[in-house]
Symmetry: C2
Subunit: 385 residues, 2 copies
């Protein structure tokens, strides 16, 4: 058994954003040596790791050279050079999640095919190699409006995804390989995080609910536990476990799902890493998702996933109309509310809709947490000087 | 109102040990810029701060020059040059806790005089400028055996404190100014952490209990909440608040107390900073003590102090007979137990009784947490290679 704690063992992390930053709290807690690779010198991870390397995550040489310096390699973003991970694996390096898992996820067309071939319930879809093929398919009636269009590569934070209701919108989409999915009218959008270690130990977190703004059609709150029937929650956890088994991933797998009006569970998409829908766990769960990811990739026993108290998470995104040096207006006011913890990611520049931080609200009474979350949402503003 | 978050505002921290390290998790979470001063290049704080300065905390010039680079200055250890803090205050620098608070605490004789002059219940004592004077006082019957002897300066982690039961022990004590206290036979040793900000907002944490090993007379577990009657807990919180008011401190004040067999509360000693007795709060409390210290010294609203679940803390100290590169034996085994979080401070070398880390056990059922803590204590060993 490797001695990870206060030793020369080294964990390499590809990506130096907020997910990496929150993972570093845990490597510090366990005193595990870390290297981080990120293209930006201003990355939130630039401090707290033992060594920061500036470089391109999509460059084969850069990733291979970086990975050779680590004992175990993980990533906090899917946009990394897979061939480099494969090369490192061939050299005997441990990469968790593996290049194989990532290959089944990184491209959204491949991801959908994977669900289909593994009997995982998901919305009907068509794959198209180009915009032209997509428009032709639409005209031929292979898929009908309204639909959800997704770029197969590089989508992140809602980029590369569009709800298409008219032919005009379809014609204005970017030129890229894509998938077109049947638009599912859903009762709830749910998520379950599954942890799995190389020894095959598996644990699922409670089902969380993404509550949408009634008009803006944007996730406003992530709520744990989801306010749904137990039978639906059990079904969602079972589906998530099935997805986890199919991928045989190591580390975390965040499984986003729709609960239809008929209480069917359909898998929307997955991410093989700590996830926005699990941020509540830092304050809410017995074992937070970042510590859990670390336990999983190091083949340590997984921690308890249940909640200590109810949790609601609010994303702090840059307000429209503001670009420049960030100011968190009224942050003092929200600190007066019970059970409120702000997490500021450390990005100096705000832009409209940029994820700048999040706020967690915990309370033994979930309804009370939800009420306070609304107050937080109404009060704090991410603007520029 | 100063903009602390993702700005150029700079917090200076005197001392780079484990308390500083855990405080840095919070400055990272709030994205507050930090400088740390510590004599050791291997200090646990060397990463995670924005700038690490190696230097002597007791050197006037070093501390003044360091402090001038910060907007607010705090410390994680009492052994710092007070004259330098006074100089910085005169130059208009904010120092929290203030030099005045520290002056009333750093010297244990002054600390005891302070309790007496502020009507704070404490064990009877005598002060002596030298070992010779102490032995004469003992002979004259000013104070009688058994007694607790304390060096007035520099005591830390049980150093500089002795229970004296025989004249022979007294004669073998080191040559130093000291105090001699009546030995209090107590039912429980309790502690309360009080937070106070410059605006005068005050919050107390629940009473914790230090459970002693029945034979070794060493604190084995810190338990929150203390398993005592409500009336005693209320009394202890009231006494702690009174101490806090007397000091008019800014930041945290950890108040250690004895509960006598007659349920009297006597103050033993105080520390003006995050404290070992508050480590459970990282996992157990709505607002952990380190975030609370930060909120207090920055004059932000204080967070809720109540517990989410019961918590028990076990110190990880170096085992007798082992000196050298540290190994945490059986750490994997304790990770299998529910609600267990290890905190490894990052010291590479273990020595007998050196504080190397701590383990927190949380559980909705405190008795269950206490049982698991015993399992942790029996299982993990801090040894050398």
């Amino acid at each position: 058994m490797t001695n990870y704690f206060s030793s020369n063992f080294t964990l390499g992390i590809l990506g130096g954003g907020q997910l990496g930053k929150m993972l570093l709290y845990e490597t510090r807690k366990y005193d595990i040596r870390t290297l981080v690779l990120d293209p930006s010198a201003e990355a939130p991870c630039r401090i707290s790791c033992d060594e920061f390397v500036q470089g391109d995550l999509m460059n084969f040489e850069t990733v291979v050279n970086f990975g050779r310096k680590a004992d175990v390699l993980t990533f906090e973003i899917e946009g990394v050079n897979i061939e480099a991970l494969e090369q490192l694996e061939q050299e005997g390096k441990k990469v968790f999640p593996s290049s194989k898992t990532l290959r089944h996820i990184q491209n959204k067309g491949v991801q959908k095919d994977f669900y289909q071939s593994h009997d995982i319930p998901t919305a009907a879809y068509q794959k198209y190699p180009s915009k032209k093929a997509f428009l032709e398919g639409l005209q031929k009636g292979e898929i009908s409006l309204p639909l959800v269009w997704k770029s197969t590569q590089g989508g992140y934070d809602g980029k590369g995804v569009s709800v298409v209701r008219t032919t005009e919108t379809a014609e204005n989409l970017p030129e890229t390989p894509c998938i077109a999915e049947t638009l599912i009218p859903f009762k709830n959008e749910l998520a379950v995080i599954v942890a799995r270690n190389p020894s095959g130990e598996v644990k699922t977190y409670p089902v969380v609910e993404m509550e949408f703004h009634p008009e803006a059609n944007q996730v406003e709150y992530v709520i744990c536990p989801a306010r749904i029937e137990n039978s639906v929650a059990e079904k969602a956890r079972k589906v998530a476990e099935k997805v986890s088994e199919a991928y045989e991933h190591v580390g975390l797998l965040a499984v986003e799902m729709f609960q239809t009006h008929e209480d069917e569970i359909l898998v929307n998409e997955v991410a093989p890493r700590p996830h926005n829908s699990g941020h509540y766990s830092i304050e809410g769960a017995y074992t937070n998702q970042f510590e859990q990811h670390l336990r999983a990739i190091l083949d340590l026993p997984l921690g308890a996933t249940e909640s200590k108290v109810g949790g609601v998470m609010v994303n702090l995104v840059g307000e429209e109309g503001f670009t420049g040096e960030v100011v968190y207006e009224n942050i003092t006011a929200i600190l007066q509310l019970k059970g409120v913890t702000p997490h500021i990611y450390g990005k100096k520049i705000t832009r409209p809709f940029r994820k700048m931080g999040h706020v967690t609200i915990v309370n033994a009474n979930l309804a009370e947490a939800r009420k306070i979350a609304e107050e937080v949402k109404k009060t704090i503003r991410v603007i520029s000087k």
